[in-house]
Amino acid sequence: MKIKEIFVTSAFTENSVWRQILGICSALAVTNLMMNSLVMGLGVIFTLALSGFTISLIRNYIPKRIRMMVQTLIIASYVIIVDLFLKAFYPEISRALGPYVGLIITNCIIMGRAEAFAGKNSPFDSMIDGIGAGVGYTIVLLVIAFVREIFGFGTLFGFQVMGDWWTKWSIMVMAPSAFFMLAILIWIINTPKKQVG
């Protein structure tokens, strides 16, 4: 029960993107194709889970003042491990991803979860929290990418879904659409629960 609660809280109730407005940079950058968004999401889930676990494991030994340095070191290490692993064993995927994997390091959600959760909770719970936050982030990416790819390219995951008659909306491929799509999404989700006056 507790596991489910941690997961739901970090994935939905306190979703990093629409509740905490974190991880926006990458949510804007990669969401013009579904495939890119999915892979980015998976990378973030993996890094969040493992860095949460590790940071929590040594949380009682990390000196308070340098905790951010330590967190950055751990997060960066996991991202590099993912990168090396992909290069060696799944070179095709690694090639397709290009600079994405490295970009995971800069995702504010990972640092945010390390500060807010992993530093105070047990390793296993932190891992669940990390997976939850990652899933919540991935859902947002996929929703935005769905709209942008279908309007911008007429495709979904690269498969043609719109006929030849479809006029591609170039604006959806470019950065501005990411800004207003994200804003609309946050607006829609947060409107019903206007608790604070």
Binding site: A29, V30, N36, V70, I81, K87, A88, P99, K168, M174
Partner: protein, 206 residues
């Protein structure tokens, strides 16, 4: 023992020692993984390069090592390296690495041309760091395929292709650029021009 340890954790040296230790541990792990995967990554890179050289000449890409040895020879002239493809003792063309600055980083590609530098046979992108979904689309087939069969030299002068919007019909001296990625599209066209200027006088004299 326990109280002594607690004391050490309160000293000023503790954060320094801690950071040093954890850095050594993690860098150690990374270095080990890097060393273990190095050979695999390098051999894959070689194979990819060979495969791409074969594919820009429309040669079979199965049995990469065998076919590469059969058709391709690596040569250089005045420190410019290039590949030569020979099939049934007829020279099919030259292929050379080209590179130029894209929007975010260096774009590296392979360009294959007919022996007289008259036409482009093909182009393929080796490495790029352009914006995914925008400039990153220079790796898409429709973009690369536009260059196939384009005339390279007009009156012995390399021609610089002009850019037209995506999805419009291109004339022989035009290339469709990627919407939202003018700089990256232009970079590819520019680097073809620059390298042809460099290579064509030397290789045509051969």
């Amino acid at each position: 023992m326990a109280s002594e340890k607690k004391l050490f954790r309160e000293t000023r040296a503790y954060p320094v020692v801690f950071m040093l230790a954890i850095t050594i541990i993690f860098i150690g792990i990374l270095a080990t993984i890097y060393q273990l995967t190095l050979e695999r990554v390098e051999s894959y890179r070689q194979t990819m390069l060979k495969k791409m050289v074969l594919s820009v000449f429309d040669l079979p890409v199965e049995d990469i090592d065998k076919n590469f040895d059969k058709y391709i020879t690596l040569s250089n002239i005045d420190n410019l390296m290039y590949y030569e493809a020979v099939s049934d003792s007829i020279l099919m063309g030259y292929c050379f690495p080209i590179s130029g600055s894209g929007l975010w980083g260096t774009i590296q590609a392979l360009l294959s041309v007919t022996p007289d530098f008259d036409k482009i046979i093909n182009i393929d992108i080796l490495e790029q760091n352009e914006t995914p979904g925008l400039g990153g689309r220079i790796t898409e087939d429709w973009f690369k395929n536009q260059f196939q069969g384009k005339t390279l030299l007009i009156d012995d002068e390399p021609q610089l292709f002009s850019m037209i919007p995506e999805n419009e019909k291109a004339k022989s001296n035009e290339i469709c650029q990627i919407t939202g990625a003018t700089a990256s599209s232009k970079a590819v066209v520019d680097m073809i021009y620059k390298n042809v200027v460099k290579y064509s006088p030397k290789l045509r004299a051969e």
